[in-house]
Symmetry: C3
Subunit: 139 residues, 3 copies
Amino acid sequence: MKSYRHELVVKIPERMDFINITGDVTQALRKSNISEGLCLVNAMHITASVFINDDERGLHRDYKRWLEQLAPHEPLSLYDHNLTGEDNGDAHHKRQIMGREVVVAVTAGKLDFGPWEQIFYGEFDGRRNKRILIKIIGA
Amino acid sequence: MKSYRHELVVKIPERMDFINITGDVTQALRKSNISEGLCLVNAMHITASVFINDDERGLHRDYKRWLEQLAPHEPLSLYDHNLTGEDNGDAHHKRQIMGREVVVAVTAGKLDFGPWEQIFYGEFDGRRNKRILIKIIGA
Amino acid sequence: MKSYRHELVVKIPERMDFINITGDVTQALRKSNISEGLCLVNAMHITASVFINDDERGLHRDYKRWLEQLAPHEPLSLYDHNLTGEDNGDAHHKRQIMGREVVVAVTAGKLDFGPWEQIFYGEFDGRRNKRILIKIIGA
């Protein structure tokens, strides 16, 4: 069994935004020399998500509005978590909706994707360095 | 390490519905000849989910009502995504709540399940062919 | 390829609560003698979750309040599922928000975690024995 590990570091200028990391994951898979297996991609921080959906700007605006409705950033007093001095209570909730990780099949050396699947990093408490883990196992 | 890949194709007559695919996954596992490992099952489309829960009609009615509350199909103008000419903005949101994929342990050649676990395909933009991926790795 | 399986049994005195199971998973990983691979941790019951987030009491209070808003326990008549004689319709919904499982990378014999990642069992229909599955595969 082979395994391969790679970390991405991102710094998102907004509090909340989504970036397409499919190219980075594809490149890691190429370096791994793994042709059959599973590829895990996860946020290493608990106010961020990795998820698979469409690379369409309108949809991303919709997601932001919807997540802000489901777990508003303000008032900060909405979250007991913010009593610790943090202001990211909302981000811990948004991350649960969008998920921590994706597991993608690797087949014939490629990410085994349907026609529109793209991997996104979702940031909910940005403006500082965050890490994303790629771990691939297989043969 | 062994690996096995199988695709299911489904066409759901409703816009939103859930179908139990546990039998299909069990059959794929049997064909894989893998006795210890992990089994990934994921929607290959981004307006659909694969999730594990109860095979109970009342619960499925509850899920449909609840998802429709959280991300209503109409008015279509609720979603910037629909400005592309699509009418499935809601489906991309419902799929995030229910999730893209499940990873199931394989032990002694079987899906290693608790007493009520069943695998469902959740469709949120049906009436056309959609694909589901089963990828099993192990020994 | 090596694999290792371990079950945890928990009995949560409240209907809804979260417990940190990171220590149990770490111990299972040590016993597995696996140094590179993937570790799946999932609830074996469909009214419970396994998720990764912060070990902070204020946040857990926030999660409970938020989940109760998104899928209230009462009135019981809110859920067709409760027509079966159950009273846990809400729990099946809360579990979908928080997720069934996590997949964690194993690197150099350790859970490959970011600085704050901790694994939680989330109970939404407690006061009876429930099982959690840990399955690790790798080399």
